[in-house]
């Protein structure tokens, strides 16, 4: 029996009709054939499907497509369709982001992506961050409300996605869901209470098989949900999905994967070993900067370049790019890193990140005793006010980038590997993927490696979830990855603090670590003394 053009989740099965000599029950006849095809000894059929099985087998003359689910060593039949006149068989990959939720529809007969939709996590109304939501979950009925928000939101989007692809939610037989540990708990209706309390214990690490119906997800009632496992409270299924997507678990060369956000999550390894850690990087990298910080979206400045108008003149022109080419409304993470890098390179901020009045000139304003750098004057902004970044905002960014670099230094030195030995540096995360690695190097957030070693993974979480929907090999690999990861607890000890302090300069106190970063020479350097 060939399984041509299909993913591993759709299997053509043709069984000989029963006779008096061979009167095994319908279910056992079907699972018997599947056991042979799949070379396994456990194939079960869901009760809801079992009720319709005799009719389906006879109607389709014992030649059917079976839709399968795999829960570790156990296979489950979650659908039986006509193999002659193929009805649509779809899977749904879900990235359960704290901020944004992405749904991707996969045609399980071909493995191709049909469409994608995303929406803001409705739990944002409770709180933008996971911590607020976890506290809210402790309130009476709080967990149920958070759970309902996400499930209702998913159900609405599933209808929308299906409508656009002209299929029915009933045609979705398989879900693959990746999210961080807290989001996964809220999605499953499990209390996240202990996740944030020492010693930081999730309810479950490896959820395994759950029926979509049990979770309230309105797709085919028999559909199974594959939920990515977590390593712990601070290393979730989204990262396991990211590792799967990057493929670093399969290569001989050692590579690193960094998910940049409020938390910096890092995995280092190769086909033989995987080590991971996670640490707080602060909100700055996800635009928690006061003033002009905003989420990536239309009108957000995502790229910044500063040009010296003429050599020997300290007159600088700021060029901006906004998402959707809209009038600028604020700045998102990647724009902020660009901005900081450019400000540093042209000397508008010094190695401590302090705004230099001599170079900033008229771009510098003071409000309530705090220096502000005007990125976009009121006349050019969408808000009608100046868009500025404050000294406090810059300081916050520098703490974040220092934390990120310190985490990277800690994990690599723990295994005794230098940055140079890394074959690839994967940058993941909704925000991280858009970082200009050159800018990140300039401010000393990422190590000074040749730019081509950096690879952006875009949304690696949805990428991994998609892979799990296309082959059982990928699915098996998920548990392999999880079980192979050594989780390094980041102890904020003296060594960590020393590294952190050294990283709080631009790009670093040890300039030899960032030889490629060249600050422009400019005329003002001579006048520095005067202007102070």
């Amino acid at each position: 029996m060939m399984n041509k053009n299909n993913t591993d989740w759709v299997r053509h099965v043709s069984i000989t009709p029963p006779t008096l000599q061979n009167n095994t029950a319908d279910a056992d006849r079907l699972t018997g054939e599947l056991k042979t095809q799949l070379n396994t000894d456990t194939v079960d059929i869901d009760l809801d499907l079992l009720k319709r099985l005799p009719d389906l087998l006879r109607r389709y003359e014992y030649s059917v497509n079976c839709i399968l689910f795999k829960d570790r060593k156990r296979w489950l039949v979650t659908g039986v369709t006509n193999s002659h006149n193929t009805s649509p068989i779809y899977g749904l990959a879900v990235d359960l982001g704290t901020t944004r939720i992405v749904l991707r529809l996969i045609d399980l007969s071909t493995g191709r992506i049909s469409d994608e939709i995303s929406f803001d996590n409705p739990q944002i109304s409770v709180g933008p961050d996971v911590l607020t939501r976890i506290h809210f979950a402790d309130q009476d009925g709080g967990l149920d409300r958070l759970n309902k928000m996400i499930i209702d939101g998913l159900n609405r989007m599933i209808i929308k996605l299906c409508d656009s692809c002209k299929i029915k939610p009933n045609n979705i037989y398989l879900l693959s869901v990746a999210g961080n540990t807290a989001m996964t708990h809220l999605f499953m209706g499990l209390t996240p209470h202990w996740i944030i309390r020492e010693p930081y214990i999730p309810v479950i690490n490896r959820p395994g098989y759950v029926k979509a119906k049990e979770l309230g997800i309105k797709v085919n009632p028999v559909a199974g949900v594959q939920i990515f496992p977590n390593v712990g409270s601070y290393f979730g299924g989204d990262l396991i999905a990211g590792i799967l997507f990057s493929g670093l678990n399969k290569t001989s060369d050692t590579a690193i994967l960094v998910d940049v956000g409020t938390n910096a999550e890092v995995v280092l390894g190769n086909k033989d070993w995987l080590i991971a850690c996670a640490g707080a990087a602060g909100p700055a990298l996800e635009c928690g900067v006061t003033g002009m910080g905003m989420m990536a979206g239309p009108g957000a400045i995502d790229q910044v370049a500063i040009d010296q108008v003429a050599i020997d003149h300290d007159i600088y022109n700021i060029r901006l790019h906004t998402i959707g080419n809209m009038p600028p409304e604020g700045i998102c993470g990647s724009g902020l890193i660009d901005l900081a890098a450019q400000l540093f390179l042209c000397g508008m901020i010094d190695i401590k990140g302090k705004l230099a009045p001599s170079i900033c000139g008229s771009k510098l304003k003071e409000k309530d005793g705090i220096k502000h750098f005007v990125v976009v004057p009121a006349k050019d902004s969408a808000t009608g006010s100046d868009l500025t970044i404050s000294q406090a905002g810059i300081d916050s960014l520098i703490r974040s980038k220092a934390a990120m670099y310190t985490i990277l230094e800690t994990i690599t030195s723990y295994v005794g590997i230098s940055f140079k030995e890394l074959s690839t540096f994967y940058v993941a995360g909704a925000f991280g993927s858009f970082i200009n690695p050159g800018s990140a190097i300039s401010i000393g957030m990422l190590p000074d490696l040749p730019i081509d070693r950096y690879k952006s993974l875009n949304n690696s979480s949805i990428g991994g979830a998609t892979m799990a929907l296309t082959s059982s090999e990928c699915l098996d690999e998920i548990d392999n990855i999880r079980n192979r990861i050594t989780y390094l607890e980041l102890n904020v000890n003296q060594e960590f603090m020393n590294r952190f302090s050294a990283a709080r300069f631009l790009p670093h106190t040890d300039r030899s670590l960032f030889r490629s970063v060249k600050v422009w020479t400019h005329s003002s350097e001579a006048h520095d003394g005067e202007q102070k």
Copy 2:
């Protein structure tokens, strides 16, 4: 970790509280310990339980009793209770009889039977036999109605049983259900349509794990239901339970098990092999005899003895025993066999089963041209009318006993074993268990073996279901039994018909097969010629 005084389904687990150094998730910590204890690699936790797990573990200080379910190689945790202050943990064994349903409550902490209750199968209102019900199931909504009857009936009885034991349905964590193939299908809501249609295909042979909640059974919502597998449409889970209960699958000596009813189901074998067959014996053995036939119950004649009043006088006194010592209302199966045996032994019926007017005397009456034998005159009966057995009723019984003997002959000769080689002859079935083997031998229904070889199993189906609730070894044995059975299709060929014809005499045409059966000599023999 000892598991003292418990069944295999309750395990004490004590886990070390989590620390920063060991922060595995609650669920994985619990299943990890269980995997070690059970020496298995698959232990799952039901989602409903998972939602309460973190709270339960902390409240009980990580020392709990886990209630387990086993689905082939996979274990499931279906309950977590306080191990210090033990809360009641019960299991429910169910015999899903076509006529009568028996529920038995087992204390899973000790394995002891707490109480038992039984009730008439509510589906009797649709039809007394499985065939009528299967046809009814084909009607629009018919299957749902039949399913609801059984589930609602069970739920009512569960409440009653729990009330009498002062526990709550919520304390029931495990169910074990044995029924014939059709009843099992109706219980699960699966169509029985194909069971009675060539080539007689059940929907499923091995149901495996089903959640009580999914079936609508109102016990602990996480409770699992272990449903006995069937071998085919005519060899159901009740018989597998019977084999388990008899233990014939474990002995070196070959034994036979017969479930006597409208269908005669037979298993022959030992620890090395098992062969089974089933065949229609007709309704007579389950009191389908016209006239005075009734189900076993208060007022039913269940034992009959006929005494010769004085030697050389053909005056016979009929002594009866009724269930509950009530005035006689009718006769049940075991009474009927006694009656037929006694009538034969004293010559009131001849070797062809024909009523002999010369001996019956005034006890013989004729109605609509058919001879009736008055068992209880109107003045002594509960109905106020004569209780009689007609010639047609006797004929029907003889066909049934002949079918039974033929089936026994066929299966033993198929494996080349003689009746004498059988170490034990188990008689099972709600009716079969009450048969007097001596009477059954006298009419040639059961082979002429020493009486002590016969063992009545009473309700072996509930017995087997009970065993499955007390040890996992028994549970594993269920699948072993099922997989080892060779099912012999009874072909109604010439050989079968020859045997059947020979068995339609009392006790048999071949008198040498029944040497122990001694017909009384009496004075009337001399007069026979005259009275004709």
